[in-house]
């Protein structure tokens, strides 16, 4: 079993949390997420042009790059996290250009060395998989794909081909931090996805509160929270860890205690 599959094999749904690398004291922030009960960590790679992100994560990218974060630093943060938390799955999330800049092979090898379990690349759809996917798979890194409300039945098999780790369902057609989709539409979508794949399905975009997370956890294998955590880093700077821990605890409790509703 991989770290990712173990996380989704727990008796309860998984809480997946996102913060941006290099924004604040990232090591302390990541530790707070783990202590709060996060099951999977997504670490954002900062990019100058985060065109799928809303204001909160855009600003985190600007703060991080403004502080001088490099790709080498992101990889160091990942490797140090792996050393401190040998069992917690770690996924890098970001945009294609910083990932392929030195070649897909280089990036995949560095991810493997740093103990990264999966990579989510926002702007490499299955049609362009050869830009990164083969290198990741060759190094045992899971390419985690996104499915969205616009991914129709005909297209879904293509999205799933070569996907590993889990499937990230983006619950709204929009950018990160958007308004949340209705619970029913999420339930319908997750059912449709699970009819087609054995991969765990985690749902994100617009999830901010424990109550929302609990609702999604009733129908999905995982719940992703990003912008709400990233905002705390922006607001609290060096004292962010205690705030992250508190929010994560509330989210984890809600997600972990959710009663599955058969679809």
């Amino acid at each position: 079993m991989t770290r990712l599959s173990s996380a989704f094999a727990k008796p309860h749904p998984a809480l997946v949390t996102f913060i941006t690398a290099g924004d604040g004291d990232t090591a302390a922030n990541l530790d707070a997420l783990v202590e709060g009960g996060a099951d999977v960590i997504e670490l954002g790679m900062p990019f100058t042009d985060p065109m799928a992100d809303g204001k909160a994560i855009q600003e985190a990218n600007i703060r991080s790059l403004g502080a001088g974060t490099t790709t080498a630093e992101v990889l160091r943060i990942a490797a140090a996290f792996r050393a401190r938390h040998p069992q917690v799955p770690l996924v890098l999330m970001g945009y294609a250009n910083p990932m392929v800049r030195r070649g897909a092979e280089w990036f995949a090898a560095e991810c493997a060395k740093a103990g990264v379990d999966g990579v989510i690349c926002v702007d490499i759809p299955p049609e362009e998989d050869d830009a990164l996917g083969p290198a990741l798979r060759a190094h045992g890194i899971a390419p985690i794909r996104l499915a969205t409300p616009t991914t129709d039945r005909a297209r879904l098999p293509q999205v799933l081909a070569g996907s590993q780790g889990f499937l990230y369902y983006v619950s709204v057609a929009g950018i990160t931090g958007s308004q949340q989709a209705t619970k029913q539409s999420i339930a319908d979508a997750v059912k449709r996805l699970k009819d087609t794949t054995n991969l765990p399905v985690a749902v994100g975009f617009g999830v901010r509160t424990a109550q929302q997370a609990a609702g999604i956890a009733q129908v999905a294998d995982g719940v992703v929270v990003g912008s709400a955590l990233v905002e705390l880093v922006g607001q609290h700077g060096d004292s962010a860890p205690e705030h992250l821990r508190r929010l994560t605890q509330g989210l984890a409790q809600a997600v972990h205690s959710a009663q599955r509703v058969p679809a």
Binding site: A52, P98, E127, P149, T150, V170, A173
Partner: protein, 404 residues
């Protein structure tokens, strides 16, 4: 080698790749939409009614064909090759941008889209988009970097007069690339009813091909006009390059004429030696941004760096993917011209021909002047005069130290 190398005119491949460049590097939310766009574009290409409507609007609304003009006094003053201009600055709205906007809005209507968005740098594409939206009665939102809003006030007012909503973008440095990011964010949230009219031959497939095709009217007309006027084709084609749509529009119909040389002129800003230029091909390296793989201005980590040019229309850190391919194959030569040189050429054309060019084609005119001097008098250069300079007089005055 594959059979495609027999022609330079049959790119891209079925995946939208021009050699190693182009492609569809977009978020999953947009993928189904751009696949549908491609299907609709193929259907429109095969539909005589679509072509007829496009041609009709170009003739009666845009004012095509644009004249082919022999720049006699400029030619005399340079003392070398004959210089001819394709006068696309005489189009409605004063630039080549409108050709593409007509094509894309017809496609939007065909697809049943009811809302139009676009990005703009200098404001020319924004004005052209706002114009076609007014013409067809569709609501229009234009994203424009806050920095550009400040330096292009006349175009902002034009867009508003035409009924568009102009949204200043404050993220990043508030220029064209940030406006494009914001356009993509809007699009991804409004895919069901919104059509994104991209202004240059870049972005995810099929945009680079589609924009090139709509702009190719420039080269097709020029070809026929040249044969009609002097009974031969030019020796050298020259055009300025930001994203590269006016250059592709001129070049593409001539790509398979092996004797015709082509020169694309990038903005060297304050010089290629530093970082204050917008020459993606000559001063950048391949990467992925805004839906395509192409040459970009970027650092060692793949972070995008900001271009600089006196011309807001050339101030973009990327380039259309077909140019990236044409550069690598060597079919087109690329050079770069500084702010200062473009200003010189701007004034030269004003005084020799009574034409105030935009700062974008002023870059091309400088390169024309250099080349013409070194070519025999019986040779022919054809350059695309892709925009008129009224919008730039404030920038030029400032650069020349004139208070208005």
């Amino acid at each position: 080698m594959n059979q495609l190398t027999n022609s330079f005119r049959n790119q891209p491949d079925e995946r939208g790749h021009f050699g190693d460049y182009g492609g569809r590097f977009v978020a999953e939310t947009l993928m189904p939409l751009i696949l549908e766009l491609e299907r609709e574009y193929r259907a429109a290409q095969a539909d005589p009614a679509f072509t007829a409507e496009f041609d009709g609007l170009l003739e009666h609304y845009v004012g095509r064909p644009s004249p082919l003009y022999f720049a006699e006094r400029l030619t005399q003053s340079l003392g070398g090759a004959q210089v001819w201009f394709k006068r696309d600055e005489l189009n409605h709205t004063g630039a080549h941008k409108i050709n593409n906007c007509i094509g894309q809005i017809l496609l939007a209507i065909r697809m049943g889209k009811t809302r139009i968005i676009a990005e703009t740098g200098a404001g020319q594409h924004g004005v052209a988009t706002a114009t076609v939206c007014a013409r067809f009665g569709l609501p229009c939102v234009i994203y424009m970097g806050a920095t550009d809003v400040a330096r292009q006030q006349p175009n902002v007012f034009r867009m508003k007069l035409l009924g568009a909503e102009v949204v200043p973008v404050t993220s990043g440095r508030g220029t064209l690339k940030d406006a494009m990011n914001e356009g993509l964010r809007d699009w991804v949230a409004n895919v069901h009813d919104t059509f994104y009219i991209i202004g240059t031959a870049a972005g995810p497939h099929p945009y680079p091909e589609m924009v090139r095709d709509f702009q190719s009217v420039i080269g097709r007309e020029a070809r026929a006009q040249m044969l009609d006027r002097i009974g031969r084709l030019p020796d050298l084609l020259v055009a300025a390059i930001g994203g590269g749509s006016n250059a592709l529009g001129l070049f593409h119909p001539f790509l398979d004429d092996p004797d015709i040389k082509m020169l694309g002129v990038e903005a060297a800003g304050r010089g290629l030696h530093g970082e204050e230029h917008a020459a993606s091909l000559l001063g950048g390296s391949p990467g992925i941004l805004h839906g395509n793989r192409t040459y970009l201005l970027q650092d060692a980590d793949g972070q995008i760096t900001e271009g600089h040019s006196i011309s807001a229309g050339l101030d973009y850190p990327g380039i259309g993917p077909e140019h990236a391919w044409l550069k690598d194959t060597g079919r087109v030569e690329y050079t770069a011209v500084t702010d200062q040189e473009a200003l010189e050429a701007f004034q030269l054309l004003c005084r020799t021909e009574g034409i105030i060019p935009a700062l974008e084609p002023s870059h091309a005119i400088y390169a024309v002047a250099q080349r013409a001097k070194a070519m025999p008098k019986d040779s022919v250069i054809l350059a695309n005069l892709c925009g008129r300079g009224d919008k730039d007089i404030f920038t030029v005055a400032e650069a020349l130290g004139v208070e208005m």
